[in-house]
Symmetry: C2
Subunit: 446 residues, 2 copies
Amino acid sequence: MERFQAYVDANRTRFLEELKELCAQPTIAAQGVGLEETARWLENRLQRLGARVQRFVMDGSPPVLYAELGAGERTLLIYNHYDVQPPEPLEEWHTPPFEPTIQDGRLVARGVADNKGDLLCRLQALEAYQETIGPLPIRVRFVIEGEEEIGSPHLILFAEQHRDLLQADGCLWESGGKDAGRRFVLTLGVKGICYVELTVRTAASDLHSSWGGVIPNAAWRLVWALQTLKDANERILVDGFMDHVRPPTAQERAHLATLPFDEAQIKDNFGFADFVQGLSGVDLLVQHFYGPTCTICGLKAGYQGQGSKTVLPCVASAKVDFRLVPDLTPELVLELLRAHLDRRGFQDIQITDLGGTRPARSSLDDPFVRLCAEVARLTYGAEPVIYPTSPGSGPLDSLCRDVPTVMAGVSHANARVHAPNENIFLDDYFQGIRFVGELVRRFAAP
Amino acid sequence: MERFQAYVDANRTRFLEELKELCAQPTIAAQGVGLEETARWLENRLQRLGARVQRFVMDGSPPVLYAELGAGERTLLIYNHYDVQPPEPLEEWHTPPFEPTIQDGRLVARGVADNKGDLLCRLQALEAYQETIGPLPIRVRFVIEGEEEIGSPHLILFAEQHRDLLQADGCLWESGGKDAGRRFVLTLGVKGICYVELTVRTAASDLHSSWGGVIPNAAWRLVWALQTLKDANERILVDGFMDHVRPPTAQERAHLATLPFDEAQIKDNFGFADFVQGLSGVDLLVQHFYGPTCTICGLKAGYQGQGSKTVLPCVASAKVDFRLVPDLTPELVLELLRAHLDRRGFQDIQITDLGGTRPARSSLDDPFVRLCAEVARLTYGAEPVIYPTSPGSGPLDSLCRDVPTVMAGVSHANARVHAPNENIFLDDYFQGIRFVGELVRRFAAP
């Protein structure tokens, strides 16, 4: 890998210029801006690597780029996206979001951390490999979409129609990087999610609250239904729900004990006094990483303005998200929830499915996970932090079903992802290139 | 009373013109329009009756007019207000709201039903009495305020400072008239109210909902606290609350059985399937008239827009009104509620007092109530409908403490109070004058 590294060092300026060129393109899925241009730029870049590129457009979506290069017995799937968040609020940027700027060892630009940096460093790593070591000893399959920041509405369709293109022995997912202690982080999956709106209507219109003793009240119906879902001890009570939660193994618990998790810092950051139920230590981490959630994201009923209005609301609604761990699925949760409410006389509570994804979690013992950890140790000279899952969600399962997947990237704890002044460290970027180069080499012959 | 009635008949046109003159004056408390002008008009009208008039202004309020006339052992207190609701939406009026118009036997104008009709018919009745029968055989005390439609914010202060002016043997309150079956209605009081906002904050800002398993959620705290206040069987659970509820006597229950109450019509009007707990008949009326309420008037937390947002809300709030029957008071409810929440670990739920009034209810057996019923039978030629209380609230207790009070007026079931095309029937108006004349005569020597 010495020649590889020498090549990267020699091409440092060109690589950076190329990253600036990619980040200078606004590619805003939410606003439908610049998607085709960036897709074309990437197609061209992939073809220069020698990749065979296909584009898949579903219902007028921005193209999903699928690219293959290299040959070998083993296949590495790589997932990225070329779209970015909108740059607003513009006035809070110190430099223009689409004029990538180097400052204090960082590159500042919209999308550089999420995830154009991850994407391009992977392409440049493959270039360096081919230019210095030779033809790729593995098959690499890229899936690069343009709608991640608006929830990947077409990715599942693509995956279902092209399952054969997604066969692989391991997958490198987008996102990741270094934590607040500058430790490199590997994350082995995501929680699933089932997002519902619960709505109840009790009358044709709102009524004067003097009827409150005798006419049904939608807000009360909603409160009574909600309180059957989770109790004040934070136990999720949906019938059968917890039966599908796989508890952590002894090994997984032991692993949690090794994770850095600064409880005091988190309390301070978010301004709350205590974690629920006074949880701390490994028990807290078990709940956070291996527990499902049932979260009220919003409540709405009746009068919400200043002062008082004596009204009996005829409609009330709650937004609720369930974060899912194996073996829960959104389909199962919808079914359990309906049965749970019906069993308690809440047939009047309407459930609207606002979308879901399945959980996906690779094992700590998986050979691909072990390989990524080994490569991280080599690249960063220290033990990586391995999170068993992100507590958040993503379309990982739909793409990577049964393919061990690791999230590893070039971002960092203060990269201001989705916020003004998004940035990455240049050194992290070039370490990321090295990480991918090492991974390709060792993946061929683990 | 024949000469009285002959005088009223002879002056029918003048009386009506005078009512139109009063209703032509916009007197909109919410907009601060025309209050002084109407107060002056009334002062003048009262003085022409021979009344001694005082005006009380508190903190720049529109004047409370206090007027006394007549002499005798017994005193009748009369409460009215000279302000009206805003006329908007103007486009829904068939005739201009402040150009009183006679149509199909009705007078249409903003405020004619609520309550300039009630007010002026009482003055004209006293005029007719004095012109035909002689000096009033009782002392009449008028209290006429200009802020009823904005919640009477200064009336309590007036009452507290001038309790001596409010001594009386009976009080005729504003509002009332005929029901949908054209039966004349007497109402013997109001429920009290205690209106609170419950607010809880669990963190400094909203969080990503992936924290939902371990960081406290304000919306959940609120739901858990609310469900301790009333259960799904509509039982109010606030500790000690129901101990202060005076159940109806056997006589009061028997009286309820005589009331017209068209359950099917009410369900149809408001579009709901069943009264709570399947209540019907006398049990329903007991709950409606003799039961307190605990009503969620509004819920607010987190995201309420279209679709999904995965947010963990740091603030949640509910507006709750309690309608109070004797012997509950707003002060007591605030105290019980705080203790109830604290006892269950909800010290974090903040209670904001958004105002309250006490219940006031005269007895079915009270001699003044019996007198009003007798006068109603005489005037309307039929048994009046007597409601033990309005299920709504008003500042009755603050003014009439210990004075038996009856609400009786010249409005009707479709008078469109607070709405466009407010109206009264002319015949009801002149019957109302007769009612007051008879009441004065019989009140002197019951």
